[in-house]
Subunit: 108 residues, 2 copies
Amino acid sequence: MTLPEPPYYAVIFSSRRASGDDDGYAEMSEKMAALAASMPGYLGVDSARGSDGFGITVSYWDSEEAIANWKRNADHLAAQRLGREKWYEDYETRVARVERAYRMNRGA
Amino acid sequence: MTLPEPPYYAVIFSSRRASGDDDGYAEMSEKMAALAASMPGYLGVDSARGSDGFGITVSYWDSEEAIANWKRNADHLAAQRLGREKWYEDYETRVARVERAYRMNRGA
């Protein structure tokens, strides 16, 4: 993923899915990814979830203001509430300032 | 995962596995996780990899010095070289300073 040179900001979201039905999760997940990408200051996102239900999503932003603005978006707030109520067993969110970045690409 | 209050440091490692055999990857991955956990300043690690081969590992450290020390560990350097040569199609490493952390735990 091509991002500008650091510094920029990362939101590290580590979560464990609650067991049971999808219950709208996949649809909401796609909707939130598209909404985040439309927000000012959004730089990109990486996401991985294993078969054990544990996943990490890291979104990148150009400023702390951009993160604060995304956090309080009304549709995102509604999704956060549903996440707490039914989709996640537990989660942790960490806001970090990226200082350095390195890359290896076999094809490049 | 219980970590101390911020600030502390995160190494965000996003990677895509090369296709083909495991070729010692799983064994080395476990060995490096144990070695990292034995290093001074290590706080913890989270890791997830999806069925598409894309994964994110975030390790947490109490200082930039601890990260530099881990980066140049001889056994780790050998593993990094094998990663570049055969295990990963591409990867990105980002070093970040965690400023804030939040948590939700349904069972707590």
